[in-house]
Each structure stands twice: as C-alpha cells, then as structure tokens.
Symmetry: C2
Subunit: 458 residues, 2 copies
C-alpha cells in the first residue's frame, strides 16, 4: 500500500472534505450550556454516522454528561488510539462575530483561505484531518495500514467530568500502542510540531479571614488586622528577587532540558520580542537567566489569576474588610509532585499568618506535567513523516498549557501520547471569529496519511 495515491486523493477530494466539515460545524455543540445538550448529542450522532460510512464499528456511549464516541477500524500495523473532541466553546460575546458562528464559511483572506466558524480549529477541523486521511486510505486501498480506535469526547470544553470514569471502565477497549491527539498547533506556518512536554497544573484559592465583620477604618484602623495586608505579604513572598518560586521543595523534580533539545529549540529562533510586543510588553518577566521558550515550556510557574477583597466599587469606602481572597495557580513541569507542592505551599502560607487570622484553602485540581517518552522510536518516525509534508523540518516542542487527557492515557491506559496538531496561534480559538486555515486542514490530512504510512512500516 503506497501513500502517494492517498495523498492525490486527499488533494482531489478537498472540496468534499470541506463540505463535510461545514456540515459538522453547523451543529452548535456547546458543552457548557445545558441548552445545547441535544446539539451535543447530534454532533456525536454525526460522528458515529461518518465513522460507520468508513466501515468502522462505531457507537455513541452514554455518560452522566455528554456522550463519548468510540469507533474501530482494523488494520495490519500498530494499534493507534486517535483522540479529538466534538464539543466547542460558547460563542459570547456574539456581537464581536462578523458572521453567525454556526453558519461556517470558507473565506479568502490576505493570509490565505480560511474556514471561519466556532469549532473550525478547536477541535472539529483538527479531528476531521485524521478522519479524512483514513477515508482517503480506505477509498484508495480498501483498508487502513494500521489498526485504529477513534475516541471522541464531548466535554473537553467543560472540564471533562466523565473522562476518567470512562477511561477506567473501558481501558481494555481503548488501550493501544500509542495515542494520537490532534488538539495542538504547528510551531509556525513552515514548521510542524510534535508536542512532547505539557505543563501540569495545581490550583488553590485561598481566603484569609480577620475581623468577624467589615470594620470602619476610622474606628479600628491602626489597631485591627487587615486581611488584605496579610494576603499581599503572602503573595509577595511567593517569588524571590530572581523570579524563582519560594515554596520549599518546589523545584524538586524539575530537570534541565537535555542538550539536544536545547539545541533544537535554539534552532527554532523564537522571537520573544515579537511575542511580547504583540501583547504590549517588551521584557521577559520570568526567572532570571532563562530563555523565553524555557520559561514557557520547561520551567514551572506560580501565578495569581485573581485577587479580591474590601470595597472595589467607584469612590472610596474606608473599610477594613473581614476577608480577602486570591486564586493562585502553579504550572508544573518534569517530575514535580503536585500533591507534595500543594502541601508545602499550604504549610508555607500557614506559617506566615499573623495571630487572629484564619485561612481556608479551596483546591481546584492538581495534575502533574506530561513528558512524552521521545525515546519511543514512533516519535522520530512521525517527525520524519511530518517533515516530508511541510516546508521545514518538524520539531519536538513543549507547551505551556495543559492537555490533561495525555496524562490520563498514560496513567489509566498505560498508553503514551503523541500530540500532533495543525492549528495556528492566530486561530482565535475560544474567541470570536475562530478560524482554521484551509492549508492546515488540507496538509493536516496529508500529514496523517504520511504518519499512518510511516508507523505501519515500523
């Protein structure tokens, strides 16, 4: 089975593929809003029907939330688990969209043709690149070169509440030689990428309580404790002057990146000045002595995502508030242990509390970093296949964000993940006027065809 006719078929069938994607995009499968429950169900049905049309054994699987879709197609090569999600982000503020977000269009822009609509990139367009590659293989050769299990989720944009139980209950059916996740970006328009490092996350909301009620600062100011002052002292103490996090033991399990990876990242020529300028900044504000890509992909962080206390309206109320609170999140890398760090963070904060202060912690989840085993030869095979399709060599990159499903595949299915996606930073996912480049869609399908071919020859 040769890949060349498959690639030609992908080219000649591009309009059909786009039409199918448009159909899929018209379903407003917003998972966070109960008003769209039937639409989420319809999107799952659409996928079952499409997989069935390929000859797959596919079905919708009920969960307490939105259904999962699982489908199987046999093949001689390794067993690949392909993951994507059919649910999309809400569309508000609707007024900022130039068109109806669920009436998708192909538009010509100065930067090329784009598919415009909610979900075009995240993640319907991305997941269909893989389905279209499979369709072309089957149309050309009657079957696939690898054994495929499709696994589509409908709750990715609403915290994936059903994911862990579903993976536990269906581990035997879903376990594979490797998982392919299509929910990430290219490094840039010329350089495709396999994301091999994802930061983990630890989130804690802290609330500090001092006086039993809000106090008048004329009557009590100077004698009574102010929880905002306590909170700001704690937050200010979380970093040292070099920008390092001061929580004891925080850097346990943080590894320096290997020399060859550092060399490869250096070759990417990341322009941090342009990156920062785009958001009104000019200087890196992270750990002293680290490159921008290290800060973003390979170093852990502590950030305050929100803070509040006292009077925040117009004008002044000279109040000493009873409470102040902050939302603090840590991005984790390497082998950092979220639970050990959480414990250490709580102890550090407790030790800083003055008398008369109570604190409550409200944990909002903890997940370790995912670091893929790029020693697995499949990574290099896939990297070469990607490099054949795109102008420049494919890169192994990191990601500052978190894609928890990769960690769950690792822990619950013992299956490593390769994250390969064709999105671009300007796709405006989660924002109005989301788009996906037609080139991403087209060359994405061609990339998967090449990857299936290459992995089947391992």
């Amino acid at each position: 089975m040769s890949v060349d006719p498959v690639l030609k078929r992908i080219d000649s069938n591009l309009q059909d593929s786009l039409d199918r994607l448009m159909d899929f995009l018209r379903i407003p499968s917003i998972s966070t809003d109960p008003a769209y429950k039937a639409d989420c169900d319809a999107a799952a049905d659409w996928l079952v029907a499409d997989l069935t049309s390929l000859g797959a054994t596919a079905s919708k699987r009920a969960t307490p939330g939105h259904p999962m879709v699982v489908g199987h197609l046999d093949g001689p090569g390794p067993h690949l688990l392909f993951y994507g999600h059919y649910d999309v982000q809400p569309v508000d503020p609707l007024a900022l969209w130039d068109n109806d977000p669920f009436d998708p269009k192909v538009e010509d822009t100065p930067e090329g043709r784009v598919i415009r609509g909610r979900g075009a990139s995240d993640d319907k367009g991305q997941l269909m690149t893989f389905v279209e590659a499979c369709r072309a293989w089957i149309a050309e050769h009657g079957s696939l070169p690898c054994k495929i299990t499709f696994f589509f989720e409908g709750e990715e944009e609403s915290g994936s509440p059903s994911l862990i139980p579903f993976l536990k209950d269906n581990a035997e059916e879903l376990r594979a030689d490797i998982a392919l996740i299509c929910d990430t970006t290219l490094y840039d328009s010329r350089v495709p990428a396999i994301t091999t490092m994802l930061r983990g996350m630890l989130k804690e909301e802290i609330t500090i309580t001092g006086p039993s009620r809000d106090l008048h600062s004329g009557m009590y100011g100077g004698a009574a404790m102010n929880p905002i002052r306590v909170l700001t002292r704690i937050i200010a103490a979380l970093h040292d002057d070099e920008g390092r996090v001061t929580v004891p033991g925080f850097y346990d399990g943080v590894h320096e990146i290997p020399d060859e990876m550092r060399a490869q990242w250096d070759m990417l020529g990341f322009d941090h000045t342009a990156f920062l300028k785009d958001v009104g900044l000019s200087e890196l504000a992270g750990e002293a002595g680290r490159s921008a890509l290290e800060m973003l992909w390979a170093r852990p962080t502590c950030e305050v995502n929100g803070i509040g206390g006292g009077y925040q309206g117009a004008g002044f109320k000279t109040v000493l508030p009873s409470q102040a609170h902050a939302k603090i999140s840590f991005r984790l890398v390497g082998d950092q242990d979220p639970h050990a760090i959480d414990q250490s963070f709580r102890e550090m904060v407790q030790a800083m509390l003055p008398p008369d202060c109570d604190i409550s912690f409200n944990s909002d989840g903890a997940a370790p970093a995912s670091v893929m085993s790029i020693d697995n030869p499949m990574f290099e095979t896939a990297r070469k296949a990607l490099s054949d399709e795109w102008p420049d060599e494919a890169a192994f990159i990191g990601s500052g964000g978190s894609i928890p499903v990769a960690g769950y595949f690792q822990s619950l299915l013992e299956t490593e993940s390769m994250l390969i996606g064709f999105g671009k930073d300007d796709d405006q996912i989660h924002s109005p006027n989301e788009k996906y480049d037609v080139e991403s869609f087209h060359k994405g399908a061609r990339s998967w065809a090449r990857i299936l071919d290459a992995l089947s020859k391992e």
Copy 2:
C-alpha cells in the same frame, strides 16, 4: 442668672422635648437620595420654625444642594457657633429594621430607655440637646447667657459639597469665639468627653497595567509580567516588620502625645481586649510598642480598603490579567502634610514598578488632621462643666475618624472647635435600628445648659 432652675426645667419638660424630637425624626431627610429633596427642605423649615419660636432670627439659606439653616440669638457672654446636621443616612437594608425608621418610638430596653429611629443619634437627637438647653434658658431667664449662632447643614451624610463655598461666603456672619460641634460620642456611659484630636485622611486608588489584554497563563505564564504580583509587592512594602509605614517622610509632623495627655488616657483604662474581642480579634495589629488608644487616636496609618484584579468568580480562569487595582487610605495625625505624603507615596510606588508597567493614580481627597488648642481655657471650663453633670470626670480624647467641618472652621472662619457629643458606640448610626439613649438626650441638654453657664462666666 443661675443654671439650677434651667436644669430643673429641662427635667420637667423632658416629655415635651422628646415629643419635639419625634416630630423632627418623622421627616425622612435623606440627603444622598434625590427622592428626598423635599424632605430635606422640610427638615430645614422645621428647624427655622423651631429657632424662631425661641426668638431667634433664623432663615433657610439656599445652596446648589440642600439648604443651610442659620439662626442668631443674642446674649452677653462669648459668641458660640453651634453646628449640627439635619440630614440622615439612608435606611437600607430596610428589612433589618424592627420598625419604620421614620416612625420613631421611645422604647424600654434592658439597658434603659432609648429613642429608636433614623437620625435619633446622628445627628437630630444630638443637635436638639443644644436647642433644648437654649429653650430652657430662655424660658427660665428670658434670654441666653452667651451669644449663639446656630448653623445646621443638610449635606453632612453626602460629602458636604456646599460647605466650603458657604463658609467662605458667610465667614463674617459665622465667625465666633469658639465653635461647638455635637456629632461625637461619650467616652463611655459614665465618662463624657471633649474630642480634641481628629485624624486626617489621604486616599489614593492605584491601577497597575501590564499586558495590553488578559493573557492565558498557559501561553504566557512564566514569561509575561503579572500586574497582581506587582501590586502585591508594592502593598507588602508599605509597612515594615514593626508595622510602621515605609513611605519616605511619612512620620514628619507626627508628634508624641504630651505626658499629661498620656497619663489621662492611661487613666481611662481602655480595655483593648474587649474592644478587639467584639470583632473577633485578640491581638493589636498596629505599630509595635504603642498602646491601643495611641494607635487609634494619635498614630497615622496606611490601610488597603479594597483590592481587585483578574478573575474573582466561582472556579478558576487561568488568566494573567491586564490590570490590578487597590484603594489605599492613610489616616493622618498632628502636622502631617497630606500633599507631601501623597507625593512621596507616588514616587515610592513609581520606583517599585518593573519595566512594562504603567500606573495611574486617582486621588480621592486629602485633609490634614485636626488638633484642637486645648491651651484655650474654654476647653478646661467646658470639661469641668461636663464633669459636674456626669458620674465621672470628663476626658479629652482623640478620635480615629475624621470630622472635616472642624478643620474648615479653623481654616475658613479662624474659629477653633470643641467637639462635645453624647452618642454611644452602640447607637448603630449608619445601620438599621439606630437609637439614642434617653439619658444621652436628657443629660446632653443638661450638659449644654451647664456649659453655657460656665462659658458665660469666663
């Protein structure tokens, strides 16, 4: 003219005096709410009529806001300017009142009889103590022992926007030998007080701007500057470990209290444990080595009255916000210069800003502290007269709050103020179920009768 029959008349006419106050309290003269404009006018008319019934030349004076009331009664002794305000606080939340706030009642409580209703203490009940003392003097002796100018404001609870221009325009008419302000409290039920120190105030809202828009902490966290972190570092740096304010030059003009005042305050036996316990606290949180009364009356403070930035709703958004803000107020004492401190504060904050940070300052007013000249013998005369009326000796005390009118009398009329009031800390002014003890009202009027007598003999 002897004071004894005046005191007897106040006793025998108490019910009439209470009935008059009830009439006055039925007028809902809420100055902040335009819906009550006619009621504010009616309260001013009521006062003009009452003063006229005493034989005063009284009139309502228009301002761009609510009217002032000015009245004159001649007498042989020194010229006294008496100040009170006829406007009252809003009544919301109305549901927390046991009765209609504008249908006042005299109630028997375990702690004694009280007048219940909005304005009972703040400030209609208080100002009527003086008017009733004058009425009894005139009824008994046909005239007053001192020359009196009554000056009643209707905008005290809404920031007194017309006060400064009115004082400037009418300085000749209002200037007196001393001003008497009845809008403060007793030290406690046994100890009457003359408030001789009022803290000043400086208010600044600061807003720190970093990135030009909110950023995703996965994409930018670790590399981009977070304005919440900058803000918390600034606030944490405003106090040293001893609780002293670190703004350069902040303590210029702060004087140690004189030894005799310290001795007198020590004699008051202030129970700071009970004071703090009442609001759920146990330890003083102010400057190390200072007594509670010093912290509250004689030391300057820096407090954060509000802070906000980033996501404050339920759950988490892993955002690096574009902005963070805080409302910071300073209570000032002695000869501290609000403008010099504001300048120094701004320079200190500016110097702490990292690159890429903008800051905006929004000043919300600055007023120096008021320190009365208790060397003026009228203070000791009034203190002795008060001591004759109450179980224990009267005290010269400080107040943590600010009563700006005393400062304006000083600067615009060159008239010193004596602040003498009969409110109690549990009067619930500005809150539901406001009350004024009948004892405060009755002994308040008797106190003024004695003070008029004593001052006339200076």
